[in-house]
Amino acid sequence: MGDAEIIPIGTRGKPGRGSGSVKPSSSARSLATRQPGAQQARTAPKKPVARRAAPTDTVPVEHTAAPTATTPEAVTIPTPRAPSQAAAIISEPADHRHPTSGIPAVDWLSGFTSAAVEVFGENWEPRLAAFLAFLRRRLTGDYSVDEYGFDAEITQRFFMTAIRPVAEKWFRIEVRGVENIPAAGGALVVSNHSGTVPIDGMMTAISIHDHAHRFLRPLGADLVFKLPIVSEMARKGGVTLACNEDAERMLRGGEIVGVWPEGFKGIGKPYSERYKLQRFGRGGFVSAAIRTGVPIIPTSVVGAEEIYPLVGNIPSLARLLGVPYIPITPFFPLLGPLGLIPLPSKWIIEFGEPIRTDDYDPGAADDPMLVFNVTDQVRETIQQTLYGLLMQRKSVFG
């Protein structure tokens, strides 16, 4: 009984357990010999007009297949006529060649058109053609990258599109002080670093792209370029190695360069030390800015500390794998992949007032005292802004 009820739904009236094959599976065949009535009930209503032998009393099965109460009648009544029905069943598969064969081409076309309008908007035809052209150019390598391997097209159309919903919907980023990002020319964005995984870098990049319409060119640690896949995406997304040569080269080229001087000390610090800035490296970023005469924009990111609260570390495993730390968060190894979902904290990114460096003469970059002073000034600015933003924030997830 239970079989008779389930099979008509699961296989949609076709033999072979809905696998789409013309021949029924062995289990389906054994089913047919044991209970021919079930087959009959299943196939008969499909083409009631074509088959004059089909009794009208089986037709309701199609509509009332689900309720268990009506099925017994539907199955048991045709059983006496099984031999004649079985003969009809053998010739049946010719009518049911493909599940889609019944849909006319016009329906396909209109279905596709409405789907295209849904995806590309009213103006879908040129947009679709443009999209195909884009695909073709990607497939044939007909695009260009800059000397750092930055692929503006893929960054804009793929990476940015992918992380934008995260920035806007998940972290609900509030961006302040966009006017401090210059519309043209080089600048050095210096920011605090936190969050176990450098998501704050990506979020700063998309904030600058969407609000100031410039690309952020982040400087990444050498580990970034050692990891497979990460290295590939990083170069394409505009990251280059955090070294003086690259930083100065990019700043001279008039790019907005992003640097996180705390490095792994900042991003991998325990949750208990959240929003406490770590040491700012050796101040290499300041000498790069002084040499190229670009302004330093102190940037404070609030919210990133809470996405993956780092409560522990496995230093021995980290050493074994050659990475700076293996994070333990309240959810990470515990919930497995689910623990990789960042907590939806509320973010505020504030771009501070630029610190000008073009007043110093180029030799000043080699004056350690001056470099330390400027480094300290940047660090203090960011720390004070962080405290200020934390005071204003109503709650972590607010």
């Binding site: 058109t113 035809e125 040129p126 990607r138 497939l139 390598g141 990460v230 394409k236």
Partner: protein
């Protein structure tokens, strides 16, 4: 009296072509080509001396012919089918012997070394663009990178000992050209191209005629120093493979090394284990000094050099023609207007904005 030029490594295509080209220069009287094997093609007006530069006989040739310019072009990643030890022997010991012979020669005035950008190595700690003053971040224990570094070291030592000789080192990017047989070309000729999984290196190429022209330029102008020679711009390896229309085969790093060794054993292609680092991290060099100090301007960019090379090969499985055909078929089937597509400019955003106001003029 014109100059007498000695060119090593003329058995190779590039050496032979350079020797022929420099022989045609008006200020050059005589060109002597030296190699252990006879050249494969026509040497034209070049006199060929079959000699091993590891042998002191080279000193006699330099003395007797009163050579005033030596162009050392036989520092090669892999000389023929011979192994790593032979390659090192030829590169390093050969250069030592040649420099020893040069040091003895009173007539010598110019020494030009054709080095390679491989001198910078490849690692994850590399800056985006190497300039001439930088060193390799990581030099392997063996391999071509180490060879080139040692060879350049000997040449610098020679320049110190003979300050009267003008010494010029040209670090050239991998050369590509139709019909040119270099390890890089052999790699790109593979029907399925192995890459390192998860890495997409930046690469620069140099057109083969540009390479020869740059050495000629350095030979005939009197400028000393070290210069990077490469076409403008960089290409990603994935991009290059797509332009060839060949499928890439990403393999984990260790497997690429093993695969390369197997290919070398089978004599199909000659890309060695040490190139795995290059295939993972890539390399870019800065060419400002080439333009401003040396005064050489390559006629082709990296993309053009690669394009000419790609055009000389049979299109691969996913050739541009097929992709275009598939695109046309798709656009046609999905109701795209074929006429509009023909006149589409390449810039996508420009296309979009241009298409938006005029969307009424085609049937929808």
């Amino acid at each position: 009296m014109g100059r007498v030029v000695l060119v090593t490594g003329v058995a190779r295509d590039l050496g032979r072509r350079f020797a022929r080209q420099i022989a045609a220069a008006p200020t050059v009287d005589r060109v002597i080509g030296v190699d252990v094997q006879p050249p494969r093609g026509d040497l034209g007006g070049v006199s060929f001396v079959r000699a091993d530069i590891r042998n002191p006989v080279i000193a006699k040739v330099i003395m007797r012919e009163q050579v005033d310019t030596v162009v050392h072009m036989s520092v090669l990643p892999s000389p023929g089918a011979s192994g790593r030890t032979t390659a090192k022997e030829l590169n390093v010991i050969g250069t030592m012997q040649l420099l020893a012979a040069c040091q003895q020669s009173p007539d010598l005035e110019h020494f030009i070394l054709k080095s390679s950008t491989a001198v910078y190595g490849s690692s994850n700690r590399d800056p985006a663009m190497f300039s001439e003053g930088m060193n390799a971040k990581r030099v392997g224990a063996v391999g071509f990178v180490k060879d080139v570094n040692e060879v350049e070291g000997y040449v610098r030592g020679f320049a110190r000992r003979r300050p009267d000789v003008r010494t010029t080192t040209l670090r050239t990017a991998p050369a590509l050209g139709p019909g040119l047989n270099t390890p890089t070309a052999a790699y790109f000729r593979l029907p399925v191209i192995p890459t390192v999984l998860g890495f997409d290196p930046r690469m620069q190429f140099l057109n083969d005629t540009d390479l020869i022209d740059s050495i000629e330029h350095a030979t005939l102008t009197d400028i000393a120093g070290t210069f990077n020679i490469a076409g403008d711009g960089v290409m990603m390896l994935s991009q290059a493979i797509r332009r060839l229309g060949r499928p890439a085969m990403p393999l984990p790093g260790f497997a690429v090394g093993a695969f390369g060794s197997a290919m070398r054993q089978a004599r199909v292609a000659d890309f060695s284990r040490e190139q795995v680092a290059f295939l993972a991290y890539g390399r870019g060099v800065e060419t400002t000094r080439m333009r401003e100090v040396l005064g050489f301007h390559p006629s082709r960019t990296t993309e053009q050099a690669f394009g000419e090379f790609a055009a000389s090969l049979a299109p691969g499985l996913v050739s541009e023609r097929r992709v275009r055909a598939a695109e046309a078929a798709l656009a046609g089937a999905l109701g795209g207007n074929r006429d509009r597509r023909e006149e589409r400019p390449d810039d996508l955003t420009a296309e979009l904005t241009a298409a938006n106001p005029g969307s009424g003029d085609h049937h929808g």
